[in-house]
């Protein structure tokens, strides 16, 4: 009896003008409605309406691509929330992070963000491993594999830029170690091979105050300027590029014939 009422309620809702205007199809029960549900939704129509059978098996797909995307969204949301309580300056950065655990309501956002970021690195790697293991990079998907490699690199870079923001010893020294490599960049790093060749007369062009590391840090050492730079890169710069590449990545999946599979 109860079930019946509910059903009729659902049905009545599905037939209402409001529902139809938003969702278009009714409660997806018929084949047509089920396809409509996918095609009519801006989010779901990333998927084709029909897919080969092995594509719904977790054992084949591992769902790692989807999870990576999901984590990206989770990290965006938690990241935005963290921005309310975090100020990227040498005065406040560290104490604001202390306050996350000490007094900020829902300070667990920091844990969600940090562990989510680590998890995303793993899911991206696993996704790549799965794609390799099933040989899915092979034609016609060569280009999309390349996009994927770039996305993976950017994921690492996102995580890397976020590493500095707590402004603790772990942060500053991980970034110092990480960016010290840029010193050794051939030609454009002041301790890299060839840097000394870039000189006009006795005037050195590439030195500690003008090389690629300097550009990254906004100074000779990790300092206030670096914190701001990494903050901007972490919150806006890199996510922006990632979003564009993700769009390409998803679109190419469809254009390259959907999920890979044996012919």
């Amino acid at each position: 009896m109860e079930n019946k009422n509910k059903k009729s309620f659902l049905e009545r809702m599905g037939e209402s003008q409001v529902w139809k205007s938003i969702i278009r199809s009714g409660v997806p029960r018929s084949r047509r409605q089920r396809m409509q549900a996918i095609l009519g939704s801006v989010f779901l129509h990333l998927h084709p309406a029909r897919i080969p059978k092995h594509a719904v098996k977790i054992g084949y797909t591992w769902c790692m691509g989807g999870l990576s995307f999901f984590l990206f969204i989770v990290l965006t949301i938690t990241g935005i929330l963290l921005m309310f309580y975090y100020r990227p300056t040498v005065e406040y950065a560290y104490t604001d992070i202390i306050d996350m655990t000490e007094q900020v309501p829902l300070g667990i956002m920091r844990e969600l963000h940090r562990w989510g970021a680590h998890a995303m690195v793993l899911t991206v790697w696993l996704h790549m491993l799965r794609v390799f293991m099933t040989g899915s990079y092979k034609p016609p998907r060569e280009f999309n594999w390349g996009v994927g490699v770039l996305l993976m690199t950017l994921t690492l870079f996102l995580s890397f830029t976020g590493y500095l923001l707590p402004w603790d010893q772990l942060a500053i020294w991980a970034i110092t170690v990480g960016t010290n490599m840029a010193r050794a960049h051939p030609f454009i790093g002041h301790e890299g091979p060839g840097a000394s060749l870039l000189a006009i007369g006795d005037i050195n062009l590439v030195h500690a105050g003008s090389d690629v590391r300097f550009a990254l840090l906004g100074g000779r050492f990790v300092g206030e300027a670096s914190l701001l730079r990494f903050y901007v890169l972490h919150c806006i710069g890199v996510p922006f590029i990632v979003m564009i590449l993700m769009a390409v990545h998803f679109w190419r999946i469809r254009k390259d014939g959907g999920i890979s599979g044996p012919l």
């Binding site: 509910k6 084949r31 929330l81 309310f84 306050d99």
Partner: protein, 182 residues
């Protein structure tokens, strides 16, 4: 195929399951309902908590309430300027009450001075004058000074709360929170 779906209950899927139709339907609803309820509770909770997130637990701005000593610290018919600099408040005691007067001139926001000998507040900017009660009586100020919420804390000290102000022209000075009877 399409017909089939239309005529059969939506949840039943494979021919093999058609036999225990009724059971399936019940199962469908039971599990699905439970699932959706739990899911909505959790996500709804999340969004509620996120709204809570917007309200910080502590503030680093100067406190808007402050303790201003005991009522007996104030002499009758006297304007106390102790809290002027730090909190922008004059503590005034007249015959029968104590009240906290804002130090912001209602003309253009300067800070008037208390002239004890002339028994008035005089604004140095454009010469507005206010009586001890805060009522304007000379110069360009359009309305009296504002008063702040005042009460007695549990330890007997006067508690001034600057987040709530009372305006004479709205008749709010009659409000019991705008003065402290002594």
């Amino acid at each position: 195929m399409t017909e089939d779906i239309k005529t059969t209950p939506p949840a039943s899927v494979s021919p093999a399951e058609k036999d225990d139709n009724a059971l399936g339907r019940r199962g469908f609803f039971r599990w699905m309902t439970v699932g959706w309820i739990a899911f909505s509770v959790a996500t709804g909770g999340f969004f509620t908590v996120i709204v809570r997130f917007l309200f910080p637990n502590v503030l680093f701005e100067p406190p808007q309430t402050f303790k201003a000593g005991f009522p007996n610290d104030y002499a009758s018919n006297f304007v106390d300027t102790r809290y002027k600099k730090k909190f922008n408040v004059w503590m005034v005691r007249d015959e029968e009450s104590i009240f906290a007067l804002s130090t912001v001139c209602t003309h253009l926001g300067c800070t008037p001075n208390w002239l004890g000998t002339e028994n008035k507040f005089k604004c140095p900017c454009h010469g507005s004058g206010f009586r001890m009660t805060g009522i304007n009586f000379e110069g360009p100020a359009p309305r009296p000074l504002e008063r702040y919420k005042i009460s007695v804390a549990t330890d007997g000290q006067i508690l001034v709360d600057k987040t709530k102000s009372f305006k004479w022209e709205k008749g709010e000075w009659e409000n019991a929170e705008s003065f402290l009877k002594v």
